[in-house]
C-alpha cells in the first residue's frame, strides 16, 4: 500500500477511535490532551540535539538562572537539584545532564501562577555539568553547574 495512504488511514483511524472514546466518556479530554512525550529530545545523545528537539537551540548564557545542586554528590543515583529562574516570562525550565548517555532529563512547563522554581532529584552517570535551559518570551537561556559525582566504593 502507498505509505502516504497507509499513514493517513492509520492516523484517521486513531483520531476517530479517540473521538468515539471521548464521546463515550471513556477518555476524559484532559487525558487526551496531556503533553506528548518528546521522544527525539529525550533520546538525543548530546545537549545540542536535545535542545534542538525541544525548540531551544543555541540558548544565551544567563546569570538569572540559579541552580542549587551539591558541588560533590556522593550518590549519582540521587542528586538533588533546585532551579530558580529570575527571567521574566519564564515559560519552561529544562534540566539536562551533559555527560549522561541521553542528557535530556526533564522539562517543566509552568502556568497559572506557578513560580519559576522546580526542585527534583536526578541521576548522574558521573561528574558532569548540570545544564538548565529556560524558555521565556520566544527565546532560550542557559546556565550550568558542575557537579562532581563520587561513584562506588565505601567512601573511597
Amino acid at each position: 500500500m502507498n505509505p502516504l495512504r497507509r499513514n493517513l488511514l492509520k492516523s484517521t483511524g486513531a483520531a476517530t477511535s479517540v473521538a468515539v472514546a471521548v464521546a463515550a466518556g471513556l477518555l476524559k479530554p484532559s487525558q487526551v490532551l496531556a503533553a506528548e512525550w518528546n521522544k527525539s529530545a529525550f533520546e538525543s545523545k548530546n545537549v545540542a540535539d536535545a535542545l534542538k528537539g525541544m525548540g531551544a537551540s543555541a540558548p544565551a548564557d544567563s546569570k538569572d538562572i540559579m541552580i542549587k545542586a551539591p558541588d560533590i554528590a556522593e550518590n549519582g543515583a540521587v542528586v538533588p537539584v533546585e532551579v530558580t529562574s529570575k527571567i521574566p516570562g519564564t515559560e519552561s525550565i529544562m534540566i539536562l545532564v551533559e555527560k549522561n548517555n541521553t542528557p535530556m532529563t526533564a522539562d517543566f512547563t509552568l502556568s497559572n501562577g506557578a513560580e519559576s522554581y522546580v526542585s527534583t532529584r536526578i541521576k548522574m552517570a558521573g561528574t558532569s555539568g548540570v545544564r538548565v535551559v529556560v524558555k521565556a518570551g520566544g527565546k532560550s537561556y542557559s546556565a550550568v553547574k558542575e557537579v562532581k559525582v563520587t561513584i562506588g566504593g565505601c567512601g573511597g
Binding site: 518528546n38 543515583a77 526533564a106 522539562d107 526542585s119 532529584r121 541521576k123
Partner: protein, 104 residues
C-alpha cells in the same frame, strides 16, 4: 497497583509550597537482573501534571534520569488555603497514578 503518592502543600503568604514524593522504580533500562543477566526494561514516569484549584500549573516530561521514587517541588502564587492540589503521573507503560491534597 502503584503505591500512593505523598503530597504536602503549605501556604506562605499567598504562595503555596508544594512537595510531592512519588513511588516508582524509574528503571533506566540499563540495569541487569542479578539472577538472569537480562536487562531490566526501562520503566519510568514520563509525564506529570499538577493542578491547583482546578487550573493546570505544571506539566512535566521526564526521562529515565529522574531518580527512583521521584521527588517534585514547586510553588504557586495566588493560591489559597483549602485549594485542592492534584498531581497525576503516567509512565512509559501506560500505568497511571493520581493523588490530591488541600493547601493548608
Amino acid at each position: 497497583m502503584a503505591d500512593p503518592m505523598k503530597i504536602r502543600a503549605t501556604l506562605a503568604g499567598d504562595t503555596a509550597d508544594i512537595k510531592c514524593l512519588m513511588n516508582h522504580a524509574m528503571e533506566t533500562g540499563q540495569r541487569k537482573d542479578a539472577k538472569t543477566g537480562q536487562l531490566i526494561p526501562a520503566h519510568f514516569i514520563n509525564r506529570v501534571t499538577a493542578t491547583v484549584g482546578g487550573k493546570t500549573v505544571l506539566e512535566a516530561q521526564w526521562s529515565v534520569a529522574i531518580a527512583k521514587n521521584p521527588f517534585l517541588g514547586f510553588k504557586v502564587k495566588g493560591a489559597k488555603a483549602g485549594d485542592k492540589v492534584v498531581i497525576s503521573w503516567e509512565d512509559n507503560k501506560g500505568d497511571k497514578n493520581t493523588a490530591e491534597a488541600a493547601i493548608s
